[in-house]
Subunit: 150 residues, 2 copies
DNA sequence: ACTAATAATAGTAATTATTACTAATTTTTA
DNA sequence: TAAAAATTAGTAATAATTACTATTATTAGT
């Protein structure tokens, strides 16, 4: 199954779930801990980073469990996946409205609060026939540290 | 080597290349054809899509050649790679300033011209210590077709 | 046009991130 | 406390991309 299909299925699921009951989810210790790790850092970690951290307290943790839970938590809207030009996925525990800056030199990802005066979704909707729900902005350039080094 | 390192190296290369001579690049027929294919479509294709097309005229084409050239063309700034939530990379032959809309249902990617009244880079720079070179906006929602089907 | 130098390619192997699978375990429910 | 069901560990499989090397194609200089 491709990710294109997954997006479709996820969308359908959300629509249906608002009508019927949510399937019962169990608060396993590991899931809780994985969520906390992502929430308590600003580095926008990968699955491997989370795995290495949580494994210190749960030595039998499996990497698959981390992946499964990160994806689950994304579907639940408790965290989000970032779209960056890195080989592995990065996650963000902050689901509030904000954007990101990526340094072209060191590759670090920073949060960036930015409120546009215009409503960009509405502006884009007027130019198209789409119904736009949300958007993300990714900024690129040099971070403070890397700027100084030049 | 991770992609983070690659970004670093690419950046260094560009800086240095402006001082010294560009290495000589040969205009092979296949590279030319790959570039044309990406330039002549609006579907934001994957390497596999390009491969299947170009192979019709060059039956001995190798998929590795397509990957190598797509990456090369990105580095040269002739095409760009999009950051989408799909398992495989998508490319865009249009390098002019524009943004993208991705339909949450069918997964199609559309170009979206949008000129903001504010200079978002400058606005973001004022809030941070970064020097911002460019940004990309990804919009999400339902496309025309998918909207009608509901 | 010919040749030397070297960039590009084909074909294959290797790598890496992620997902799939299933028996065993943990958590919840009643 | 026992039954039901979600979750996990451990492993295998998958899929996209990159790496490698002998061969081929392109360019530059004569």
């Amino acid at each position: 199954m491709t990710k294109a299909n997954k997006i479709f299925i996820y969308y359908k699921k959300v629509k249906n779930l608002s009508e019927m009951d949510l399937p019962s989810h169990r608060r396993s210790q590991k899931r809780q801990r994985i969520l906390e790790e992502v929430k308590n850092t600003k580095i926008h970690p990968t699955a491997m980073w989370v795995y290495q951290r949580v494994r210190k307290d749960f030595p039998r943790l499996s990497l698959g469990t981390v992946y499964r839970n990160l994806n689950f938590l994304c579907e639940q809207g408790l965290i989000q996946k970032l779209l960056l030009d890195f080989p592995s996925d990065h996650f963000d525990g902050d689901t509030s409205l904000h954007h990101h800056f990526i340094c072209k030199v060191c590759g670090k990802v920073f949060d960036l609060d930015l409120k546009t005066k215009e409503n960009l979704s509405k502006k884009a909707e007027k130019k198209t026939d789409f119904s736009i729900e949300n958007y993300r902005i990714y900024f690129y350039g040099l971070c403070d540290r890397c700027k100084k080094r030049r």
